[in-house]
Amino acid sequence: MMLDLGILSFGFFQNAILAAVLASIACGIIGSLVVVKRMVTVSGGISHAAFGGVGLGYLFSIDPIVGAFLFTVGVALGIGILKERAGQEIDTLIGAVWAAGMAVGVISVSLAPGYAPDLFSYLFGNILLVPPGDIQLMAVFCAVIVAIVATFYLPLQAVTFDEEYARVMNIPVTAISLLLLLLTAVCVVILIRLVGIILVIALLVLPAASVRGFVTRLPAMMASSIVLSLVISLSGLVLSYLWDLPSGATIILLGAAVYAASLPLSRIRTARQGSGTRSGRPLPQQGERGRQ
């Protein structure tokens, strides 16, 4: 339904709001999983590598956003498969993918005939210029994310909480981890239009990280990240419009400010609850580690 409204020539502002809603749903859900699973760096690698897909899109004259989708899915699969073998080298692997993906993009754009329109908006986003076709794509991707996370919620919770125990519970940990990487790739594509490839990782992670200290359950974390991310992107949209600033960067700076504010607030909250957190927190693990 929202889909149709988007296509019918609503003003660019309504389109922007729709884009913000879809992006917030996606990044609230996936961002929460990314934050609790501590895979922010991996997500950063996937999102930056998306530029390779945009560049290839220009080179082969397909829609850059479709190129980005195919490319990020490929990168996510590659990281997921290599991760098992990389072990300690996972950081290096991510760094390599991160830079190589962008390099592919730069070279493709330079080889592509003629001028690359919108290139800047893929890199830094422009919420006011999201074409209706992309809104449709975002809506489909968003529905896919919601459906898959709802279906596989328990295994996703198990794997993001305690991977080893999930394995003991006979959950296909490798497959579920790969699924999460793929969902992250899909989410990145949804967010590109909003804040651009360079800034995607911030929008993905900052709302979830901001609410983390205030929630006690994963679904609550997802729901409140959705709301917060919507508030951040809409306020960013309005501010950028009023002050004539780039919308993507404005949204991200707002997000960073909210995150910065959340840190002392959550600490105060923890302290006031007189929780067992502090006293229950043990010394750092010394000696025998889990994986000897």
Binding site: R38, A158, F161, E164, Y165, T216, G280, Q292
Partner: protein, 283 residues
Amino acid sequence: MSWRTWSGYRVPLRGVTVRNNEGGDGGTRPVIEVRDVSFRLNGVQVLDRVSFTVKRGDFYALIGPNGGGKTTLLKIILGLLVPEEGTVAVLGQPPERARSRIGYVPQFRTFDFSYPITAREMVLLGRLSRARQIWARYTPADREAADRVLGRLEMADLADRPLSRLSGGEQQRAILARALVGDPEILVLDEPTVYIDAPTEVQFYDLLEDLKKDLTILLVSHDIGVISRHVTRVACLNRTLYTHDSPEITEDMVEAAYHCPVDLIAHGIPHRVLRDHPGKGGA
């Protein structure tokens, strides 16, 4: 040298019941059978032809220094690692098949305690191995089991508390509850009390004492301390396993596993620690 001089002190062994199931088990097959298992990690030999057998009703303690391969051995028994050589059978099956009947208490702090999850949700995760499909939801039976085990561990009123707001001892009980909620036949514990204070530790072992009536327990520790009052069998692991696979610790076994904490010898292995060694000063 007598065993008393190794130890420094003794503890009274009152009120200890020894469950020695040697041959008294109606000839059932071993619960855990490890045969000639070797494992190398990054080129370092962690386990070298380790063999031992855990029988039904045992409270088996594997002790040994840090880095002696205890955790690795547990992971092999759980099917998380595959040994390079040797075989492992759990309840007569390969580990991956049998592990749904194992309750696993991993080393404390191997996961993130600030994860947004309540004690009940965490305990429920221990029921996932029973799910028929990967997308299945918890059944009423799952929820009842979780409440029952939380009640048994005196955690009922903490069930909806987030993990991050439980004390260390409560967190440890939640981890134990997660291991028990699937009604396992075997309980496997990896250094379960390293990070909790001494009174909590005593409570924890009292709990295990209670559980060992229904369960076979395999416990790994580098510190025999409190454990010794409860175990029925003990072996020392430091790359190789030093045991005669009997409830006795022998002098040569301890000498061989030199790194074992020596106070285990008198700190109350609840039954015969050493055979009589006439002419060696008596025991």
